[in-house]
């Protein structure tokens, strides 16, 4: 079980929760479980969400493991110059 923190706009589509608990071992599973628990999140996930694991931002690596007790933060996927 990992605790996931959502940013403002996401928490609104997740029933107003800014923190949710998810049983997931990697980013892939995290997204799948989140979409199951909160269908409103699915379009956001499709559009792209970045995941910060203990402060390091991952944008694309679904296989990245979520270590137990890690701090998991969801963030908007950003544009760069």
């Amino acid at each position: 079980m990992v605790e996931v923190t959502l940013w403002g706009a996401l928490s609104q589509v997740a029933g107003g929760n800014s923190k949710v608990e998810v049983e997931a071992k990697d980013i892939r599973e995290l997204f799948r479980k989140l979409a199951e628990q909160y269908p409103g999140l699915e379009p956001w996930i499709d559009r792209g969400i970045a995941v910060a694991i203990d402060g390091t931002i991952y944008r694309d690596t679904w296989s990245k493991e979520l270590p137990p007790g890690a701090e998991i933060f969801l963030l908007p996927r950003l544009a760069g110059g």
Binding site: D54, G55, I57, R59, T61, L75, A79, G80, G81
Partner: protein
């Protein structure tokens, strides 16, 4: 593939040196080919007709007269680029921006295009296209667009991110919010509070090379596109999707790119050129004029930002809050969101809240510009931080050091930081000789901090070893400022060979797997990771071949300084085999030797910079001269330090232009008044002093060499650093960027009159 990206702390032989770039000679002899330097036999000249109105319904377009003109081979409108985006809203916006469908949404919006045998005929044909417009009220100012009475740009847009779905359509496409703690409580604990509103005007990336491409669509459904772009793979995806092609049948070759800075990250003219070529059955060359570049491509957001920061007498910030409104052009964007994330990223805050609003205006579609959205937020926040330090009576550097984020700090955008460089940049600034340089009358000093995320992303590299032992490196990230040099250094480092034994090229989309673009400061970070991985894969094969040549087990062969070395007592008499020797025998030991890498380079390290700036302000004219400038930035690891310095200097110079003179000026008619380098005033050589740089290296734990990415952060602090310097020199707080002479003089006069 088991590639370990973790920082290893190795000693370097090649990385960190400063050799001449591999593409250099072509660039100093005029041989390098940029977007407009390529031609195809039988090519036509493409030109685009653009709306003179800021906001208008397109009732009808009559192209018959243009089509009838001798020498015209194709005329297209939106009907020739049908909507194939299948509900993909972002792609639909790109399509509509390439060719207006029902409404022209800004001055310069493309409405039709022609391909003709020469430029003169194409120009004449444009004049013969009749467009029946119904002109609508327009809005170009970000604050006015948010007002209730503002003309609605898209009546299907309802603000996203509100607690309740709004009943009315709005020009605000999205609200976003970040932060933690309780700012109300935090302000309650403050002894001093600074609260101010700031504005920044819209700027353009200002690359010297206009957008240019040559498109050649064949009747068999295949196509070639030669184009200046920051991401040819992304351009291929977009063009294929918009034209209904299979991506693999469209080969995109990236030319040398004459600057991008974010402005060449999405398509404008390319789908139009392809559609023209498809219709005409001939190659089409489409080159934007400078006027078109300004009117129809590029710009960053104009912003309006409110900041409130509170601190205790001891200099501890207790709460920070900001509301950020960013213009997005006429299409939805996420620009304020990035501003809201980056605004307070430099600080350790218990109570912080930022709210962003994305605002539609009748201006060109906002594109990324170097650390997009961060400079404006930093301008507002760092101005307020400076003012607060002054009110408390603490030195502004000390004040920032006291409140700087560090490893373990919860960032204002959410996650907890790993090892970061804000503290070290501030300490370096505190001890920098620049801080002690004497100031004369009418001169002032300012400093400011900045933050940028840096990205990774999908990346491929092919490393091929020739039979003569020379190495070719094919990368998929466009080289915008020297990355072929830095990647060659990385490959040389891994292989243990000399830099001159390598040649790096940017491969076309048919020669390499998909690559994300060169954006988000990812070029060297991502492609170096893939290069390291590819080189290590090649080394594995080199070791196998050496083992074969020696007839021993590969487990007994190690790679040291460009040689296979047989290890262990029993192989003591085997000596070593150079890469060259192994390559010479490759034909009989298993064929060509290569290393490939396809990976997602994730885990880019955030970066911080602190800048110091001295200016002199003429109190009678409001004219500002930058007299001294210093950049201190964390690079993680500087692979080619000279080009890292170049990125620092270039970002600072762009920031100086933005701070002092660059802005989009719209008339009351909603038309852009200064679509040229004469009146869109980017800094010239005589405007700037030497720009001193100091590279700090706080390794990124998620890259084998510690690389973070260096391209963007340098544009984040200058707006604020210069605003603080000007405010100190002129004795009045400047809150509107650019601080053009009329604005400075007006502020001085207002202050004088009290």
């Amino acid at each position: 593939m088991n590639f370990d990206p973790r920082f290893s702390g190795r000693k370097f032989a090649s990385v960190g040196t400063r050799p001449i770039r591999p593409d250099g000679v072509d660039k100093v002899t005029g041989r390098a080919r940029y977007g407009a330097d390529f031609n195809m036999a039988g090519q036509l000249v493409g030109r685009v007709l653009r709306s003179p109105h800021a906001h208008a319904i397109i009732r009808k377009i009559d192209t018959s007269k243009a089509e009838a003109l001798s020498g015209v081979k194709a005329v297209i409108t939106a009907a020739d680029l049908p909507d194939l985006t299948d509900g993909d809203a972002a792609m639909y916006d790109i399509l509509d921006n390439c060719m207006a469908r029902t409404k022209a949404l800004y001055d310069g919006h493309a409405v039709a295009a022609v391909a003709a045998i020469d430029a003169r005929t194409a120009r004449q044909a444009l004049k013969l296209i009749e467009v029946d417009y119904e002109v609508l009220p327009h809005v170009t100012d970000v604050d006015e667009a948010m007002a209730h009475h503002a003309p609605l740009i898209n009546d299907t847009i309802f603000t996203e991110g509100l607690e309740q779905k709004p009943a009315k359509a709005s020009n605000v496409t999205k609200r976003s919010q970040f932060g933690h703690g309780d700012v109300h409580q935090g302000f309650g604990a403050a002894d001093f509070i600074v609260e101010r509103s700031f504005k920044t005007e819209q700027t353009h990336q200002g690359y010297i090379e206009p957008h240019a491409c040559v498109a050649n669509v064949s009747t068999d459904g295949t196509a070639d596109l030669w184009v200046c772009t920051q991401g040819h793979f992304v351009y291929r995806q977009h063009c294929a999707q918009l034209l209904g092609m299979e991506a693999s049948k469209l080969r995109v070759t990236s030319s040398e790119i004459g600057g991008g800075f974010g402005g060449k990250t999405h398509v404008w003219a390319e789908p139009v050129a392809l559609a023209l070529s498809r219709k005409a059955g001939r190659p089409v060359k489409l080159v934007m004029t400078r006027d078109e570049v300004f009117r129809a491509s590029g710009p960053t957001s104009a912003t309006s930002i409110d900041v409130k920061i509170g601190a205790r007498k001891d200099g501890t910030i207790t709460a920070a809050e900001a509301t950020l409104r960013y213009s997005a052009g006429p299409y939805a964007g996420s620009w304020a969101e990035i501003g809201a994330m980056t605004a307070f990223a430099c600080y350790k805050l218990d109570n912080v809240k930022t709210v962003g609003y994305e605002v539609l205006v009748n201006r060109p579609k906002t594109a990324a510009y170097r650390a997009p959205s961060a400079p404006m937020a930093a301008f507002a926040v760092e101005s307020a931080v400076d003012e607060l330090a002054k009110e408390i009576g603490i030195d502004p550097v000390e004040f920032r050091i006291r409140n700087a984020a560090q490893e373990g700090t919860r960032s204002s955008y959410g996650p907890v930081y790993g090892p970061i460089g804000i503290g070290p940049t501030l300490e370096a600034v505190k001890n920098h000789a620049h801080m002690k340089a004497p100031l004369k009358a009418n001169q002032g000093r300012g400093m400011a901090c900045g933050f940028w995320f840096n990205f990774g992303g999908q990346t491929c590299v092919d490393l091929n070893i020739g039979m003569d032992g020379s190495v070719s490196l094919a990368v998929g990230t466009v080289d915008v400022g020297g990355s072929r040099a830095s990647l060659s250094l990385v490959a040389a480092e891994e292989l243990g060979i000399d830099y001159t034994q390598l040649k790096a090229v940017v491969a076309d989309t048919s020669s390499l797997g998909y690559n994300d673009m060169t954006d988000g400061s990812r070029g060297t970070f991502s492609s170096s990771m893939a290069t390291i991985s590819a080189a290590r894969n090649a080394i594995k094969i080199l070791r196998e071949r050496a083992a074969q040549m020696w007839d021993i087990s590969v487990d007994d062969v190690v790679w040291e300084q460009g040689h296979a070395v047989a290890k262990g007592e029993k192989h003591g008499n085997l000596g070593k085999l150079s890469l060259k020797e192994i390559a010479a025998k490759s034909g009989t030991t298993g064929g060509p030797i290569a290393g490939h890498s396809e990976l997602v380079a994730d885990g880019a390290g955030v970066s911080f910079a602190t800048h110091i700036c001295d200016v002199e302000v003429d109190p009678e004219t409001g004219s500002t001269r930058v007299i001294r400038y210093t950049v201190v930035q964390d690079a993680g690891k500087a692979v080619h330090p000279t080009y890292v310095e170049g990125q620092y200097q270039g970002g600072a110079a762009q920031g100086i232009g933005w701070a002092l003179n660059e802005e989009y000026i719209y008339g009351k008619d909603g038309r852009l008044q200064n679509a040229g380098f004469l009146d869109y005033r980017i800094p010239v050589c005589s405007d700037l002093p030497m720009i001193d740089t100091q590279i700090l290296e706080i390794p990124n734990p998620n890259h084998p060499y510690g690389v973070r990415g260096v391209g963007e952060t340098s544009i984040v602090p200058p707006l604020a650093a210069i605003a603080n310097a000007v405010s100190n020199a002129a004795g009045v707080r400047m809150t509107h960027i650019p601080m053009s002479p009329p604005r400075i003089l007006a502020a001085i006069e207002a202050e004088r009159e009290g």
